[in-house]
């Protein structure tokens, strides 16, 4: 505040001018900071890793990805390798089979007692115990627990950890091969959605006005397309394969991202730092990608993460209703759809893919929750 002398109280006016000194407080000596500089991403990562649920989810996702990359190559079976004699085997895991679980045994019911002793049908040593014996008419019928591997003539030392399917293909190999394909479809479609959505939303949000009106309504129209119909059309056009599924998931999938980006642009484009950059002559392209977009990264990453399990689920759903990728290629959805046909007889064929897809979905959802919290600027500086 600048004060005129004659407005001061009288006792102050009488002080001679020499008595006044400039304040000693000198701002020229701003202190160095002693802490490390913390950028946005560093801060977000630190907060992400301090959240236990996020760390566990991230670990689960990484493990599944690594397994998907390794397992199909080391099981010793090809994912299309059929063996009609060894179909619908139960699961048998080395080590565990000695404990009596997952030991490759199965209970066969309603068998003529006389046939048990026929070595052509029941090879030596495959019948482990007779559980029940009863009369049906004149026949004596038994329920027996058999070593199904011996029963089917699988050589000793061969294991199918998750059993085999109706064509005798190893489910473990197929499951992780399928996970690989499902994840690939998910990531591909999410990345394409993200790229298209971000560019579209940026343009609509940054330029606003008529451009925005046109682009928003165009997206609105596309959003109205029924996506199953679109998928079927793509299948007709390109054949059933990964490409048509990715395209089908892309046709409407990017619209949400575009809307989010547009809203974020409306939020940030009027900020003073954007105006400041404009007065410095920063070109539009740089304003969009350097000044505005980095501030919208938080919600975008979160959204992409939520979209991954969504895409996996959509792919599975399409496969389940028969619009999946071309057999014999597996995907989690195809395995589930094959498994559910024999759900009551061989539940292991559904159980393992179901567990895997559940873990994957939960992990991705939890991780995106953690990311959202870690990137929320309003939580910055807490803890």
């Amino acid at each position: 505040m600048i004060v005129e002398r004659d407005r001061l109280p009288e006792e102050l006016q009488s002080i001679p001018a020499e008595e006044f000194r400039r304040s000693e407080r000198d701002w020229q000596t701003d202190e160095r900071f002693t802490t490390e500089p913390i950028g946005f991403y560093k801060d977000a990562l630190r907060r992400l890793f301090s959240n236990k649920v996020s760390v566990v989810s991230l670990a689960a996702i990484v493990i599944i990805i690594v397994l998907a990359l390794i397992v199909p190559n080391v099981t010793g079976y090809g994912y299309t390798e059929q063996n009609v004699k060894q179909k619908n085997l139960p699961s048998k895991v080395p080590g565990l089979c000695r404990l009596g679980i997952l030991d490759g045994t199965r209970v066969l019911t309603n068998i003529k007692k006389t046939s048990i002793s026929d070595p052509k049908r029941y090879p030596e040593g495959c019948v482990l115990e007779v559980i029940r014996e009863y009369k049906a008419g004149k026949q004596t019928v038994v329920d027996v627990k058999v070593d199904y591997y011996k029963y089917c003539g699988v050589p000793e030392g061969e294991y199918h950890w998750m059993g085999t399917d109706y064509l005798g293909r190893d489910i473990l190999t197929r499951l992780f091969k399928g996970t690989r394909i499902s994840l690939m479809i998910a990531f591909l479609s999410v990345v394409t959605n993200l790229i298209i959505g971000v560019v579209y939303g940026s343009v609509a949000g940054y330029y606003g006005g008529r451009v925005d009106l046109f682009l928003t309504h165009l997206a609105e129209v596309l959003d109205g397309l029924p996506y199953i119909v679109v998928t079927i059309l793509f299948m007709l056009w390109l054949g059933s394969g990964m490409l048509s599924i990715v395209l089908a998931l892309t046709v409407t999938g990017w619209i949400g991202t575009a809307r989010l980006t547009r809203a974020q642009f409306y939020r940030y484009k009027g900020r003073e730092y954007v105006l400041a950059a404009r007065t410095l002559g920063v070109p539009d392209k740089k304003l969009i990608f350097r000044h505005i977009l980095p501030n919208t990264v938080g919600p975008l990453i979160t959204r992409a993460m939520i979209a991954v399990p969504g895409a996996i689920f959509s792919e599975s759903f399409l496969a389940y209703i028969g619009l999946g990728i071309k057999p014999p290629e597996p995907s989690i959805g195809i395995l589930l759809s094959e498994g559910q046909k024999v759900l009551l007889q061989y539940p292991n064929q559904t159980f393992f893919p179901a567990v895997l897809i559940s873990v994957l979905m939960i992990a991705f959802n939890m991780l995106s929750n953690g990311l959202r919290d870690a990137m929320d600027p309003s939580r910055r500086g807490e803890d």
Binding site: W27, R32, G39, E272, Y273, G281
Partner: protein, 313 residues
């Protein structure tokens, strides 16, 4: 007024904003027929209450908004016309802006070096040279080299405002539009920032268009002052003149609102109200900008002009 000295000439500048369509259409006249000029190396203060169009005037001059009508000349060249790439680079290398909110005006995702150096990088200066210039500028505004790698949220309000000043100064503009650079800072820091601006101004021979609502700061800092009311410029005079003999009733009302540091006189201070309908009768005469005495312009009608001249004696 010697014309050749004017670095910035604003004449009949209008800026309107519209919203809605058809019958819902609303037109807001934010700046309404404003004319003034700023001389080379002077500080021109623009004061007025919140929402009177000060900021809009500043932003229209630097072309953050496209003017609705009127012309703006800078260094003899019309800068209110059609926006071309060439005009845009002329504007951005000659006029810079300092913003009101020190928190809002720095990009939270960029380091201080990136923020300050951006203007130079755009002009094709090499990275090493930019770094040198940034460090030099940081020292000028009282920060250290080490601060260059920091992010804005690690600084205090006063420090951030100094960073904002460094960003504006590094391209060595001829004119700075300072849009309420101190109103978001507390009083002890205001003096720092104002003194820094003053030092830089003398060092670099800058012209400053200083937009503020704190009258004591404006008086201390400005050579000439323009008072705005409701989108119109109502009085332009040299700083001391304006405070010694305010003529327009709005200027008087504004000056009467300054609190005084002496409790004895403060208690007796009379506030003057400004009611346009009561204070002016423009039903017969059209008001316009008139020179009452040399260098003292008032927006008034013919009869008011005579009254003012009488008042000055």
């Amino acid at each position: 007024m010697p014309e050749q000295d004017n670095i910035l000439e604003v004449s009949h500048l209008c800026q309107t904003f519209t919203s809605g369509h058809g019958s819902n259409r609303i037109v807001v006249k934010a700046v309404d027929d404003v004319s003034f000029s700023v001389r080379r190396a002077e500080t021109f203060g623009l004061v007025g209450e919140s929402g009177c169009g000060k900021t809009t005037t500043g932003r229209t001059i630097i072309r953050l908004y496209d003017p609705t009508s009127g012309t703006v000349r800078f260094g003899g060249r019309v800068i209110s016309g059609k926006m071309t790439r060439e005009l845009s680079s002329y504007l951005s290398s000659n006029i810079a802006m300092i913003f009101q909110d020190p928190i809002e005006s720095l990009n939270p995702r960029m380091t201080i070096e990136e923020i300050i150096g951006e203007g130079l990088l755009l002009r094709g200066v090499s990275r090493a040279r930019v770094h040198e210039a940034v460090v030099e500028m940081l020292h000028k505004v009282g920060l250290t080299e080490e601060h260059a790698t920091r992010y804005p949220h690690e600084f205090s309000g006063g420090q951030r405002q100094r960073i904002g000043i460094a960003r504006a100064m590094i391209i060595k503009p001829k004119m700075i539009i300072a849009d309420e650079p101190v109103s978001a800072l507390d009083v002890s820091i205001q003096a720092q920032v104002i003194n820094l601006l003053n030092d830089l101004k003398e060092e670099m021979g800058l012209t400053i268009l200083f937009i503020a609502h704190n009258l004591s700061v404006v008086k201390y800092f400005s050579d000439r002052i323009g008072v705005m009311y409701y989108g119109k410029l109502v009085e332009v005079a040299e700083s001391d003149d304006l405070y010694a003999k305010p003529l327009h009733p709005y200027t008087r009302a504004l000056l009467s609102a300054i609190p005084q540091p002496n409790p004895l006189t403060e208690r007796k201070r009379q506030r003057i109200d400004y009611v346009p309908e009561r204070d002016h009768d423009y039903s017969r005469e059209k008001p316009e900008m008139r020179e009452v005495e040399p260098e003292h312009f008032v927006y008034c009608s013919e009869s008011e002009l005579r009254a003012y001249e009488k008042q000055l004696g």
